[in-house]
Symmetry: C2
């Protein structure tokens, strides 16, 4: 499982304050904790700032985080100017979060992916918004992946996010999301699938149980990347367990190695 | 989900002692705790006792437990004499754990099922032992279910246990077990599926993660009954969550009801 650490995000109050105050120590501490917990890349998001402040803030975030870790980062913004500014100072192969089938976003972000040889999170949506129902989602997904391939992006650099909806407001949509991944996986072997783990439980109580069940079902349907809090050891351990049960961890070697590193115990 | 509470079992040291000493209070306390936690039936098992002591002990267990709960029980023994003795004093519709395709066991337990109009746990095995590989398991399973139906047992009274193996010793068998349930479910709509939740992780560290992932995958494959510790609130909650995500809890009504009853929080 490819883990994108989600903690450096200004939708969290403490991070919002840390970015506004340019609190180097606090940001670096969040970075180091996530790296030590096993994150494969760190998402950096300061999208809650004013649009005109975001490019400079994202640039500062990239530099600040990369001065304490050799990991590449996942630059997370709907704002192409902010992405461009952050990418200009990024070291290594970046990930961009995100592109979609929306025309203006597609064109602007594609240029950046190519310029920086980035991998990219591809959201299952277009100018009509998030697709209604599975057949429309499949159509939007296929078109988006094929367009990226036609435009020269390697399949291995595409992380498709099926955009799971909340179970509370869209009953039935979870099964459709799982089927969407299975169908796209069959059509594009090698395509990566990525998801956040908490949208599914929005509006429901004791959300962790729903998030946990969702990640297990998603792993079984092909999920191979997650945007999550890597400090949530129970969740990380459950992902290792799901991979072992579904034949993606031969002889449980990764599970046992994670155990030996103390990563399965809270 | 139909929850069979597993705590009254003499493989647990405290229960072995309680049964040997005929400690009514201790047994009844275990019964009440499981009922209050939401168990639908309680397994009673004193199979660790000497064979000649088991019939009287099981009879005592049935009476002792049923004097504090109106729930029917699941009488658990490989010994038909013990089952017969316990069934003779049982109130309500009992469950028998278990029958299998083994010839002598099949014949003896079938008589008891019919005499007491019991439901039954049907283990996927025969005189050759536990089947090797999926095609043999499917063959054994189909033959066992068809034989029970032919012998007049209603499909609704059969709880098929696919006998999941340990991931440590049988890699690949977990996926086969899930497929076995799906295949049998397609062939016998209405057949129940039951499983314990801990065999899958035997021999591996931090087993709870594997048990959790297994229950989620099993619910998605049709599991509708479990033999488990109903006091494990995290596991119960995860089962509710898995049912909600897989379309078996319309509008999350059961999940929300369980939350209101305080059953989703440790």
């Amino acid at each position: 499982m490819f883990i994108v650490g989600e903690r450096i995000n200004t939708t969290r109050k403490s991070m919002d304050q840390a970015v506004k105050e340019r609190n180097t120590e606090m940001i670096q501490e969040e970075a180091i904790r996530q790296v030590q917990a096993g994150a494969n890349t760190l998402d950096v998001n300061c999208g809650s700032l004013k649009a005109e402040e975001e490019p400079e803030a994202l640039t500062w975030l990239v530099k600040t985080v990369q001065s304490v870790t050799a990991l590449p980062l996942c630059l997370d913004s709907p704002n192409p100017e902010a992405l461009a500014a952050g990418l200009a100072v990024h070291q290594g192969k970046p990930m961009i979060n995100s592109i979609s089938g929306e025309r203006s976003r597609y064109t602007q972000v594609l240029t950046l992916i190519k310029e920086y040889h980035a991998s990219v999170v591809a959201l299952c949506m277009d100018d009509r918004g998030i697709p209604q129902g599975k057949s429309q989602a499949l159509e939007v997904g296929i078109r988006l992946v094929e367009e990226l391939l036609t435009d020269g992006i390697s399949l291995d650099d595409i992380y498709f996010d099926p955009l799971v909806r909340s179970l509370a407001t869209s009953p039935g949509s979870v099964l459709e999301t799982l089927e969407l991944m299975q169908d796209l996986k069959a059509r594009f072997p090698g395509l990566h699938f990525i998801s956040g783990l908490s949208n599914v439980s929005f509006g429901l109580p004791e959300r962790r149980h729903l998030n946990r069940a969702f990640v297990v079902l998603s792993v079984a349907s092909g999920l191979d990347a997650v945007i999550m809090d890597p400090l949530d050891k129970d969740m990380v351990a459950l992902i290792y367990a799901a991979e072992a049960l579904t034949g993606r961890d031969r002889f449980c070697l990764k599970y046992i190695e994670a155990y030996r590193q103390g990563r399965l115990k809270a």
